[in-house]
């Protein structure tokens, strides 16, 4: 080894060190720049400035037109209500469930059951639920005619209903596993068992003891996921397209329709609508913040009142029943998808199809190659880039011991700001720059969502890894890089893989980012599935929804089994995921 090589190594190490120092800022830049720029480029047309299509001056006319649009107030209301009801219901049920089941066998059983449910993309879950609860859906078929007396589907509006109830149901069912897993991940930090035991020794029943002592400590830890749920519920496009109201649409879908209208002047209104959507989402978050304060106050007052509560078993029952229903609906949805995907002609109210066939699967297999390849390329690359960056940021935090947390909270911005509010601006920019939509742009757009979720999934494990491991390794003479490669990374293999599985699933479930940024040219499983939704052929929709759900499941399974395989002879590494 000559001095040249040594100095090269020094330079490389120095470069890596600087890269690591810069990683948090780089990550914030690539996450914030598109959002801020995109919102900025949406604000201008909203006020009439978009020279490319003749908007030169500033005006409020487009907002006036927006507010005069038929059905707008209802659209706004549905978006708003769904933004509040969905998280409220999901959170309440999750808390009640944990109060009832925390520390029991039911909890670990449920944890195993809901993890795969989390992997099902929103669109696929919405299709499944629609197939289950529609007037001609699986439930009605199974209950008819014996229980209901219907020989033809009842003429009731369930899916796509005016008030968005089925939309809220779909979102609640989908978010319960998400919040449940987030809560389960946070619980060990706050020593829930000790808290409950103390309260019980003071004469509180178990459920109430949990609610009064654990919730106040737990909630701050899952606040961010709850906010993400609120933002998603207020502005989702794909779920609303599938199961949401369509007379009128929810605000986000309506805005998308205006944006795609050949009458380009409607783009001004679409921009104004996108800003309104941003306003609706932020208002929902503010209102929620208000609810937090009220609940905290009420909770504290109740705790201080000394009441031991009599409704304990009722509350626990609601929690168990609610979460069990959500899980059953999700599973039922998957069953409905599977049945429909093989169904031949299936007359109502027959319980099962008259004939079975592989037609829809064969049909899909012919069209599958390119969307599948696109989906995989996008998801794999976005996941790899995201995990590398996330690890770099967390490692940087460890190494320079700079708690960036306050500013790192900003990296969740893409999850809070409605997608349409900034994707529009980005589209306008790419059209202006005459960039041909390509897969790289779509990957970048996916990163905006894959990165924050991967960070959310990994940061806790990374930060909580016992610092003595790295101190020990250092005293044994290992450099910081050796510590990273030989100690920290192997010890965190399982959480890293889980974070990758989360990122992978997030990428696969993206609709708007693929559809808008890819200008329809970059077809993915999700864009195909949603495009087919307008067709309404149940077998084919079912096949695509299942395909869309299978990939993330595989991801989660790999994340589960790879560590087991690698550490099969290492007892101390088990259960570290």
């Amino acid at each position: 080894m000559g001095p040249a090589r040594a100095s090269l190594q020094a330079v490389l190490r120095g470069g890596a060190q600087w890269g690591l120092r810069g990683a948090p800022w780089f990550m914030l830049l690539i996450l914030l720049a598109p959002v801020v720029l995109g919102v900025g480029l949406t604000v201008l047309p909203a006020f009439g400035y978009l020279p490319a299509i003749g908007g030169e001056g500033l005006t409020l006319n487009h907002f006036a037109a927006l507010f005069a649009a038929p059905g707008l107030s209802h659209s706004v209301m549905v978006s708003m209500v769904s933004a509040l009801v969905t998280p409220l219901l999901a959170l309440l049920l999750v808390l009640l469930f944990l109060a009832a089941a925390s520390g029991t066998r039911l909890e670990s059983w449920m944890r195993r059951l809901v993890s795969p449910l989390l992997a099902i993309p929103h669109a696929a879950a919405a299709f499944g639920l629609a197939f289950l609860i529609a007037p001609s859906g699986l439930l009605m078929r199974w209950l008819s005619p014996s229980a209901t007396g219907f020989s033809s589907p009842p003429d009731v509006l369930i899916v796509n209903d005016y008030w968005g109830l089925s939309l809220m149901l779909a979102l609640t069912v989908k978010e319960i596993p998400f919040l449940l897993l987030m809560a389960l991940a946070a619980l060990p930090q706050i020593e829930a068992d000790k808290r409950v035991n103390i309260a019980r020794s003071l004469g509180y029943r178990r459920g109430l003891a949990w609610l009064l002592t654990v919730t106040p400590a737990l909630y701050p830890l899952i606040r961010l996921p709850v906010y993400a749920v609120i933002a998603f519920a207020s502005a989702t496009v794909d779920v609303a397209l599938i199961i949401g109201p369509n007379l009128p649409y929810t605000l986000s879908v309506q805005v998308l329709q205006w944006f795609n209208d050949p009458d380009l002047s409607l783009r001004f209104m679409a921009a104004a609508g996108a800003l309104l959507q941003l306003g609706v989402t932020l208002s929902a978050l503010l209102l929620w913040r208000g609810l937090e304060v009220v609940f905290a106050l009420l909770g504290r007052r109740y705790a201080l009142s000394g009441h031991r509560g009599r409704a304990d078993s009722v509350l626990r029952g609601i929690g168990l029943l609610g979460v069990a229903t959500a899980v059953l609906l999700s599973i039922g949805g998957v069953v409905a998808l599977v049945l429909n995907s093989f169904a031949g002609f299936w007359r109502f109210p027959e319980n099962l199809p008259r004939s079975w066939n592989l037609r829809a699967w064969e049909n899909a297999s012919l069209d599958l190659a390119s969307p599948l390849a696109n989906t995989l390329i996008i998801a794999v690359l976005a996941t790899l880039i995201a995990i590398a960056l996330v690890i770099a940021v967390l490692e940087s935090e460890q190494r320079f011991q700079k708690r960036l947390s306050p500013s790192l909270i900003l990296l969740y911005l893409p999850l809070i700001v409605p997608q349409i509010a900034f994707l529009f601006g980005i589209i306008v920019a790419t059209e202006f720059l005459q960039w041909t939509p390509n897969i790289a742009m779509v990957i970048f757009a996916h990163l905006l969502f894959v990165l924050p979720y991967s960070f959310l999934a990994l940061s806790e494990a990374y930060r909580r890894l016992d610092p003595r491991w790295s101190q020990l390794a250092a005293t044994l003479g290992a450099s910081q890089w050796q510590v990273f490669w030989k100690v920290r990374l192997p010890l965190l293999l399982a959480p890293c893989l889980t974070a990758m599985a989360v990122g992978f699933a997030v990428s696969i479930s993206q609709y708007l980012a693929s559809q808008l940024i890819g200008a329809g040219r970059v077809s993915t499983l999700t864009t195909e599935a949603v495009a087919l939704a307008s067709g309404g052929n149940r077998s084919i929709i079912a096949v695509w929804a299942l395909l869309q759900a299978v990939l993330p499941m595989l991801g989660f399974m790999l994340a589960l089994f790879v560590p087991r395989l690698v550490w099969r002879n290492r007892k101390g590494m088990r259960g570290s995921a």
């Binding site: 007379l247 783009r267 390119s370």
Partner: protein, 404 residues
């Protein structure tokens, strides 16, 4: 001296884009078109809500790749308006050469928008070798799209006509015009619905009702006079006001496409449905989506019909490839394939007289299924109104029923 030099340079730069444009293929020189098409990738933007049509496009793409070395990528739209909006935006952004759309399935209002804004390449369609098979001289509807002259800017590829289909087991004698439809619906509430405008099929239904109700159809074939709109369309709205409470879901929700309506028919939610494809019922039976007792009919007042076209945007990159594909879709082989009910069940745009005896026989031998209306049963075709009316009707519909 230097000033004239400047002017010359400016002049040269002005000429440059023209040189670039001269790369556009000359549709008159077909051999050269085919030659320059080889190796191109054509982005074909087409509505993708019907899996059968998607499969057909995939088949045609495969054939074109094999024969001409042109790759066709089906960009799946849920609404053709998306593509029109994109092309317009590209033009306004000054993108004259690297458009994202090479070929577009289009007609009516969207074609009018494209033509009006000079967003189309051409004329080219009548130079296609297979255009002769259309026999446009005898069939003027091939040169007119919703009353707008096509002028060679788009090539016909399929035709459609509004038909009703019904389950003959449940509904032995269906209502055969809009008046009978209303009476029947009121006696049998919840048995009928139509796709929500501006979904194409839904808008077509509005026009059908309007054409059947108005006494004087003449104004509908002329550009819209705004002041006249309320008076002329009044019968339509009063008709719908009466019809809607008797529709499925009491008219509070409408299917989002014809395929979704077909599924409702298969589930027995409705017993009467509409379609733009005379072979819809047979195709549905063949696909196992409809019971075998489904049959079709058209309104005895005549039914609205139109031709779907393919257009090439002005800034398409693969114009030659797009033309080659359009020409293939006009071939007897491609049209025959589309004609088969198990494939797409589409009515051909070709004139049987222009085909060889063998090709004619091939068409005659296709078993269109007992649920398909033969051409002679399709009755009188009502021409599409001027495209102005479509947008106005859709807006009014949304205003009245789209958002209460």
């Amino acid at each position: 001296m230097s000033r004239s030099l400047c002017l010359m340079l400016v002049g040269l730069f002005c000429l440059l884009p023209i040189n670039v444009f001269s790369d556009s293929p000359d549709p008159g020189n077909w051999e050269q078109v085919v030659a320059s098409a080889r190796g191109q990738t054509v982005y074909f933007d087409a509505w993708a809500g019907d899996p059968q049509i998607n499969r057909y496009i995939a088949w045609a793409a495969e054939q074109t790749q094999k024969r001409y070395g042109v790759e066709i990528v089906h960009v799946k739209l849920s609404d053709t308006a998306e593509a029109v909006s994109r092309i317009l935006a590209e033009k306004l952004a000054g993108n004259t050469e690297t458009g994202t759309v090479d070929l577009l399935w289009v007609n009516g209002e969207n074609f009018a928008t494209l033509k009006q804004n000079a967003l189309l390449f051409g004329p080219w369609a009548e130079q296609l070798p297979n255009f002769a098979l259309v026999d446009a001289d005898k069939r003027p509807e091939m040169r007119e799209d919703f009353t707008i002259a096509v002028e060679g800017l788009e090539s016909p590829w399929t035709r459609s006509q509004l038909i009703y289909y019904f389950d003959s087991e449940i509904l032995p004698s269906p209502p055969t015009n809009v008046h009978a439809l209303l009476a029947w619906a009121q006696e049998n509430p919840g048995q009928f619905t139509y796709p929500r405008p501006p979904v194409f099929l839904g808008s077509t239904f509005l026009k059908q009702v309007l054409l059947e109700l108005v006494e004087d159809r003449e104004p509908l074939y002329k550009p819209l006079v705004t002041e006249e709109f309320a008076r002329i369309t009044a019968p339509l709205w009063s008709y719908l006001d009466q019809l809607h409470p008797s529709l499925l879901r009491g008219g509070r929700s409408f299917p989002s496409s014809g395929t979704q309506m077909r599924r409702m028919m298969g589930d027995g939610e409705i017993s009467l449905a509409i379609s733009l494809s005379p072979a819809e019922a047979s195709a549905g039976i063949a696909a196992g989506e409809l019971p075998e007792t489904v049959r079709s009919f058209v309104s005895d007042a005549g039914s609205i019909g139109n031709v779907s076209f393919l257009a090439v945007p002005f800034n398409a990159r693969a114009k030659a490839g797009a033309m080659v594909f359009a020409n293939f879709l006009l071939s007897a082989q491609a049209q025959l394939q589309a004609y088969r009910p198990e494939v797409m069940g589409s009515t051909t745009v070709l004139s049987m007289e222009q085909l060889s005896a063998q090709e004619r026989a091939a068409f005659a031998n296709v078993d269109v299924g007992s649920a398909t209306l033969p051409p002679e049963a399709l009755g009188k075709t009502l021409q599409e109104p001027h495209p102005d009316w479509v947008g106005a009707l859709e807006r009014e519909w949304v205003e009245r029923y789209g958002a209460r």
